[in-house]
């Protein structure tokens, strides 16, 4: 019931690799890290491969990041979403406004 956040650079792209669950408890630390990365880097990628659970608090964080990236003229995208996580973007229509690449279906370890 925790969220592990790992950030590193991949050819000038700020990559945030997340693993665990995004909810009301873990979202604030994610928001802090993600927003400062979006503020700093021209391109930011969030890897959600190992995120097994997310709810609207996560959607809220990504909306904030999207807004900030637009303000700054920076790029922001989400990659490797599990089916159940992508579903929330789909239901809310946020998949239309947030850049999402690759959804995956498979076992999460």
């Amino acid at each position: 019931m925790n969220l592990h956040i790992d950030d590193h650079l991949e050819q000038d792209v700020g990559v945030l690799k997340l693993s665990g669950e995004i909810d009301a408890y873990t979202a604030p630390q994610l928001k802090e890290k993600l927003l400062s990365l979006v503020e700093e880097k021209q391109k930011v990628e969030v890897d959600l491969l190992k995120v097994s659970y997310m709810d609207s608090t996560g959607l809220g964080v990504f909306i904030s990041a999207l807004k900030l990236s637009k303000e700054k003229g920076h790029e922001f995208k989400l990659v490797n979403l599990q089916e159940n996580v992508y579903r929330l973007f789909n239901i809310t229509g946020l998949n239309e406004v947030i850049n999402i690449e690759n959804t995956v279906e498979g076992e999460i370890t």
Binding site: D23, A24, Y25, D55, L59, N84, I91
Partner: protein
């Protein structure tokens, strides 16, 4: 109208670190009832959204330190009640006061601070009701559909 059901009630501190605990609970109960993997995911999101709203309410309103959660497990559905006041449920009283969430504009507005929270609850559950008289109580229902119930052998003979 009267139906036998199992009822589980729990109280959690109105703190975000317990949202995950509620998720584990609903996951266990829904699994026991025979909900599918996808439906259990829906239930986890919906209950988390509801308790997150309750926790946020408690945060603004200092005298509420607990969230009360009730699970009514029927043959064909689960009803989940989440109240942001610490008291126990008087089911009959709550039933009499409840209305569909579209009817009470104020309660919807109040929940909107959760952003997409209530929207998701509504999308993922079959029925959502909100009572706003003494704190906010959300009651949401998800039905067990027959094709997912039919895991056991005697299902065939009973459908004739």
């Amino acid at each position: 109208m009267k139906q036998a059901f199992d009822f589980v009630e729990m109280k959690l501190p109105a703190k975000s670190e317990f949202v995950g605990v509620l998720r584990l609970t609903i996951s266990g109960l829904a699994n026991r009832m025979g909900f599918s993997y996808e439906e259990i995911e829906d239930l986890k999101v919906a209950t988390s959204e509801a308790i997150t709203n309750a926790v946020n309410h408690a945060y603004y309103d200092e005298d509420t330190g607990e969230v009360t959660i009730g699970f009514g497990m029927y043959d064909d559905r689960i009803e989940i009640m989440i109240a942001d006041r610490g008291g126990s449920f008087d089911l009959k009283e709550i039933r009499e006061q409840i209305g569909p969430y579209n009817d009470g504009e104020t309660s919807v507005e109040e929940m909107r601070e959760g952003g997409f929270g209530l929207f998701l609850i509504d999308a993922l559950m079959d029925k959502v009701e909100i009572n706003n008289n003494h704190g906010v109580i959300v009651i949401m229902t998800k039905f067990l559909y027959e094709n997912e119930v039919g895991q056991n052998d005697d299902q065939i003979s009973t459908t004739q």
